[in-house]
């Protein structure tokens, strides 16, 4: 399987780094190679956060990615900033509640899920990131469901929160299969 | 009683390099006598500083580490933390302790490091040829204060014993002189008390000892002793500024 080079971006507090860590832990549980790189330097400006997760079957060369295969955009500035960088044929997953436009690129796949609205409906407003993860895995099964569950176990100790995350994951996946916005 | 004759076991039988009339030698002897009296020679580690006393490790028969200028309290901290059952002392001049090493002594004291500090104050930088130190007396001429120390420009002398006595981590702080047999007798008691503060696990012990530097003061040895008495003692009052008999319970914010 080719490497997955994933950029996750949003506001600080949206669980951007956390989402990346869940992916990274899940990748370890699946025996894959993985790097998790937070933007901690000059990029960490104006309350925005992003991280880069690379998952591969081979040892990973660069943890720094200029042209990601996947972009998870949790807000509009993140889409604006990273859309151009996504590799042709790549995938953009975005939170349609907070991003008020669709990707303009025709050469990438896009999935828009009202993640914040779904999370609010679930009574777990901070789980929008996990809703997006569910959506991502539904269209691109980068990691097995078992690995993701195990990754969540590594990161979330509280059983109630973990259960909420699993529900968010399932709702994210369902939102992709069933169009979220009635047409 | 001060034993004038007879060499303490810890004092090596070698000639020292000190100038005539310098009192570093007397202070070395007080330290050696104390180490003998407390029977701690085999578990004592000294830290030599940078200044005239840099070669103290050639004169005392204990393990020694030689530290960078001013850093002796940090080196002593490193030793004491990994060897907590040993006795660790520093031997520092006033340039070393009060100027370049002010941060290191302040924080070792604030942490209450279980170390003993022998602080020798001769009111100037002896080794480098008599420049002004933070302890130089107001109006005193040195090679870098040729018109005399101007307090407006250079500030007033630092009284380290009093300053350190104000810190919770310090169990014992005193200042004595070695300018007469009676003073030497008191100094010897202070040195021992500063070691005992460490041995009893009470905190840092420091003795500031007013010392002479006839060569850089431009005085004959006997005049130097009188000058110390007449000019230094008024600026640096003698006495015990702190003597905590029991380890103080620290106030814990978690309580």
């Amino acid at each position: 399987m080719p490497a997955h080079e994933i950029v996750i971006a949003g506001f600080g507090g949206q669980g951007v780094l956390f989402l990346g860590e869940v992916l990274a832990h899940a990748a370890v549980r699946e025996g894959r190679h993985v790097t998790w790189l937070p933007a901690y330097g000059p990029e960490q400006r104006g309350g925005t956060a992003h991280c880069t997760v690379v998952i591969d079957d081979e040892p990973i060369a660069s943890p720094v990615v200029a042209d990601p295969t996947v972009l998870i955009a949790l807000n509009r500035p993140s889409l604006d900033r990273f859309e151009r960088a996504v590799r042709p044929g790549g995938l953009i997953v975005l939170d349609a509640t907070l991003v008020d436009r669709l990707p303009a690129r025709a050469d990438v796949h896009s999935v828009a899920v009202p993640a914040t609205a779904i999370a609010a409906e679930l009574g777990a407003p901070r789980a929008a990131n996990i809703v997006l993860l569910g959506a991502l895995l539904a269209v691109a099964p980068i990691l097995s469901e078992a690995a993701i569950r195990a990754g969540l176990e590594d990161k979330v100790r509280d059983p109630a929160r973990r259960a909420a995350n699993l529900t968010a994951l399932a709702r994210g996946a369902a939102a992709v299969r069933v169009p979220a916005v009635p047409t | 009683m001060i034993r004038v004759a007879g060499r303490p076991r810890t004092l090596l039988d070698v000639p020292t390099h000190y100038c005539p009339g310098c009192t570093h030698g007397i202070i070395h002897r007080l330290v050696a006598e104390t180490i003998d009296a407390l029977a701690i020679r085999e578990r004592t580690i000294g830290v030599a500083s940078v200044g005239c006393s840099v070669f103290i490790y050639d004169y005392l028969d204990v393990d020694f580490q030689q530290a960078a200028h001013g850093r002796a309290p940090a080196v002593a901290t490193g030793i004491k933390r990994v060897l907590p059952d040993r006795v660790v002392f520093t031997y520092q001049g006033d340039g070393d302790l009060a100027s370049i090493g002010a941060a290191e002594i302040l924080h070792a004291a604030a942490r209450g490091e279980r170390i003993t500090v022998i602080y020798v104050n001769n009111a100037l930088y002896g080794m480098t040829g008599g420049q002004m130190a933070p302890t130089t007396l107001p109006g005193m001429r040195t090679t870098t204060s040729p018109e005399g120390r101007d307090v407006r420009r250079h500030g007033a002398p630092l009284r380290m014993a009093e300053l350190l006595a104000s810190l919770d981590g310090v169990a014992y702080a005193a200042r004595e002189a070695v300018s007469s047999p009676a003073r030497i007798h008191r100094a010897r008691r202070a040195v021992e008390a500063a070691f005992r503060a460490q041995l009893d696990d009470r905190g840092l012990g420091i003795v500031e000892l007013l010392s002479t530097c006839p060569v850089n003061w431009g005085l004959e040895p006997t005049d130097a002793l009188a000058w110390c008495e007449a000019h230094m003692v008024p600026v640096f009052p003698l006495g015990v500024f702190k003597d905590v008999r029991r380890a103080r319970e620290p106030v814990d914010a978690r309580a």
Binding site: P63 | F64, G78, H107
Partner: protein, 350 residues
Amino acid sequence: MSRVLMKGNEAMAEAAIRAGCRAYFGYPITPQSELPEYMARHLPAAGGVFLQAESEVAAINMVYGAAGAGARVMTSTSSPGFSLMTEGLSYLVGARLPCVVVTVMRGGPGLGNIAPSQADYFQVTRGLGHGDVHAIVLAPSTVQEAVELVGLAFALAERYRLPVIVAADGLLGQMMEPVELPPALPVPQAPPWATTGAATGRRVISSIHLDPEALERHVLELVATYDLIAAREPRWEADGVEGADVAVVAYGTTARIARSAVARARARGLAVGLLRPITLWPFPIAAFASAPRRWLVAEMSSGQMVDDVRLAVEGRAPVLRYTRVGGVVPTPVELAEAIVRAARPAAVPA
């Protein structure tokens, strides 16, 4: 053996504990603070000493004291703090004391920023303090390698009785990667030269030799050790350098990025090699016996390692460079472009 996901800074701390390090003295500075924080949480439980010093000046001198007292000891810092430690490093070398100093380099000069950088190359390979001072400098490029090199650093420090520097950068310190941790080594006994109390004869640890001839003998002994290190300890990794159109030279994080860039350039039909120094000092001069058409040195500095490359290549092939400064990390895409440009006949040495 199982793999655990760890930040570079934390993995280096755990590696040190497993290497038998039982004393840590340091002062907080980004981007390495996770290392002392990890030590504060775990070293006391392992029976060791953690102490936050009042400054890097104090920290390195505490390391001196503990090393002289026979402890396996380390500190860590980042660039501005490393500058303050160079005084102590000179004394540690002068007194022949082993210790490990990790520096997680960030952008300079001055306060600069906290982003990843390799701009302290000259400082770690040439400027460790006054006097004829050198120390082995190990440059990891993955978290796994950081773990291994921290272990190696303690072994080399004790073998040669000298400090060993582990030169990482902010990216390696901050990133997480799965690592296999080595089994824990026993905590060593204090060596016979350590000042532990003069029960069996007196020991003095000092860097003073007032008599010039005595100091010359001492320095020549150091130089003999440096020569031994230069003969035995150069480490590097090379891939496809001989006969390449372009061979990239890069270390640490930049070498990882370069590996991706090399793959991209190869996909475009170029013969591209990669040479990765693992020891920055001693510089792996022997590795440069291979003959590509051109060398391209990539580093996150204005061009520092390139000097060592030129010395090693001795004019046999053109040496070009690609540099980013100020904490800017090159991407594989831009570095691949630089490789393609370097392969063009018109490319002239920078």
